[in-house]
Symmetry: C2
Subunit: 135 residues, 2 copies
């Protein structure tokens, strides 16, 4: 799968996501669109880039896909192919990961659902074997 | 100003926004992308359509512009021209309106900032005279 999207996203791409690089395979970019009331970030993934498995405790997260093609997978569930216009509602407490396909850039807006005691728990990476088997 | 955008938006367009039609001039469409944790709606405005002046009490709202061209205006401030990729942070308590330009469809995602006692207060329409003078 390929797309004309070459890494410029609908919303500002921002800088290399150095703060979270330890939780990603490959290079991503982060631009915070809102940091008051609700945290809203635009995340751009280069082809092959994905985040490690993680859990949003208490709050949950909503993804609005704006550009390119990617994957979302919740633990013990089939991977879900993502394209522009898709919306993913990630419930609190669900182990999951998301990222680009092998061949495409990918961008989504991530909206953190505010909640008392909300936190993120980062877990193991998505292995190359698991990722390569996606199609 | 015109655009290729002909009323199909990045996110699902949904049905005619009958529930709020009394607070709009012209026809809009509403699709709720999330109703748990954070209310997120995709709003599509036909050319010339705009909402009445209104105030978000307590919570505020964030607009993510996805398609077409429009306007945002806060009370006693100059109108702000909007295009895809723009983000508007509307503070609680500020009287304002938003909508399409005369010649273009317009779509934005609206994210309601959750807050204790949040409510919307709807006020007077934006007159044809005021709207026609925008450029």
């Amino acid at each position: 799968m390929s797309t004309n999207f070459t890494g410029e996203s609908l919303f500002p791409k921002g800088e290399k996501n150095d703060a979270f690089a330890q939780y990603f395979m490959g290079t991503s970019y982060l631009s915070m669109l809102s940091t008051e009331g609700v945290n809203i970030g635009n995340v751009v993934f280069e082809p092959g880039c994905r985040n490690n498995c993680h859990v949003h405790h208490a709050g949950g997260q909503i993804l609005l896909v704006t550009d390119g093609y990617g994957w979302y997978q919740a633990w013990n569930e089939p991977p879900q192919a993502l394209k522009p216009g898709d919306v993913v509602n990630i419930p609190a407490g669900v182990k999951h990961w998301h990222g680009a396909t092998k061949d495409s850039w990918f961008a989504h807006v991530a909206i953190a659902i505010p909640a008392e005691g909300a936190s993120n728990e980062w877990l193991e990476p998505v292995t190359d074997e698991h990722y390569a088997a996606l199609a």
